[in-house]
């Protein structure tokens, strides 16, 4: 344990805001409208191996920069027992691009093979303590938060990424192993709460 704390001291030294590691997903039974019209909850989406909740939106340049990578990871790990749900908690009054029609279009355009839902009232985002887009929360098979943070270390240039934080965490969860780097941060847009 001591060795682990030393090894991952950097991540432990600067904890991110929001849900604490080990916590379960709050507001997991709140129904949210999916791009296909169904009302879904995090509990219904949860996978046997784990659950990935991604707070994102349509307009934020940071969210857009990571969107293809999020789609690829979500699609890949959804096939490997991870329940995947992207959540838009932005009030579309602040930017009409974040409205439901825009979400339907974006989901099709990027080929999301996972849910992309509206967090009307930002109820779920607020309960998670999510502050920015994109911001991801990964829960293990037991429903405990094991990774919180960003996708990787280079939003602008996918080919220059050195640290694949989310991919590494997903691989660990999918294979039942501990997540090495559990908390990361990146610049991003604020969630525009309702």
């Amino acid at each position: 344990m001591w060795m682990r704390a030393v090894l991952f001291g950097l991540a432990l030294a600067a904890p991110a805001a929001g849900l604490e590691l080990g916590a379960t997903a709050p507001k997991a039974d709140v129904k949210m409208k999916n791009v296909d019209g169904r009302e879904l909850t995090i509990t219904e989406i949860a996978g046997k191996q784990g659950t990935l909740v991604i707070f994102t939106c349509n307009h934020c340049p940071w969210a857009k920069a990571w969107e293809e990578r999020i789609a690829a990871l979500g699609n890949e790990y959804a096939k490997r027992g991870i329940g995947v749900i992207a959540v838009n908690a932005n009030d579309p009054k602040t930017n009409t691009a974040d409205g439901f029609d825009g979400m339907v279009e974006r989901s099709k355009q990027r080929g999301f093979q996972f849910a992309y839902v509206v967090d009307s009232g930002s109820t779920v985002a607020k309960a998670f303590g999510a502050e920015r887009t994109p911001e991801v929360f990964l829960f293990d098979a037991g429903g405990k938060l094991v990774y919180h943070g960003t996708v990787d270390d280079n939003a602008e240039n996918a080919s220059a990424v050195k640290q694949h934080y989310l991919r590494d965490a997903l691989e660990s969860v999918a294979t039942g192993k501990p997540v090495a780097v559990a908390e990361t941060k990146a610049l991003g847009c604020t969630i525009k709460y309702y």
């Binding site: 960003t150 602008e156 610049l187 847009c189 604020t190």
Partner: protein, 155 residues
């Protein structure tokens, strides 16, 4: 006439933002040799950043003579440098500014480990380069001024 116009354009054009790591920005805080240094992290696409921007410039104007410096650090991608220059020109910025360089997480933690990375963010340093306040999200002129005055009083 043309020469006058060109001279006016050169005089009002903002200097190209300098790519800087957090260590370089923090070195600039000390090099400013000011009584208080306001570091604002912003981006062209960030609406609250754009909204609070004029208040930061107003603050700089009002307190420059009392030893307050303003360091503007854009979090835009390097490929968006021209948008940064255009916005600075629109705002009439005629002093050096910075463009974030390097890893996001190191950048965020160098300013304040409590910062989640959302923009805008403003950090107020004293003359010795010690961080005295952090403001996350959009702030008002009154909020900026209150923090600066606290630092000036304690200097």
């Amino acid at each position: 006439m043309l020469a006058t116009l060109l001279t006016a354009l050169i005089l009002t054009a903002p200097p190209t933002p300098i790519a800087a790591t957090p260590a370089q920005v923090l070195a600039a805080v000390k090099d400013a040799k000011a009584k208080a240094v306001v570091v604002n992290i912003w981006a062209t696409w960030c609406i609250p950043c754009r909204e609070e921007f004029p208040d930061l410039l107003k603050l700089r104007q009002a307190y420059r003579d009392r030893g307050v410096a303003l360091l503007l650090v854009s979090g835009d991608f390097g490929s968006e440098r021209q948008q940064v220059v255009d916005f600075l020109a629109e705002q009439g910025v005629d002093f050096p500014t910075y463009l974030k360089s390097g890893d996001d997480m190191q950048f965020i933690d160098a300013f304040d480990p409590a910062w989640s990375g959302t923009l805008p963010a403003t950090f107020i340093y004293d003359g010795a380069g010690r961080r005295r306040a952090s403001l996350f999200g959009k702030s008002s002129y009154t909020q900026f001024e209150a923090k600066v005055l606290e630092v000036l009083k304690g200097d």
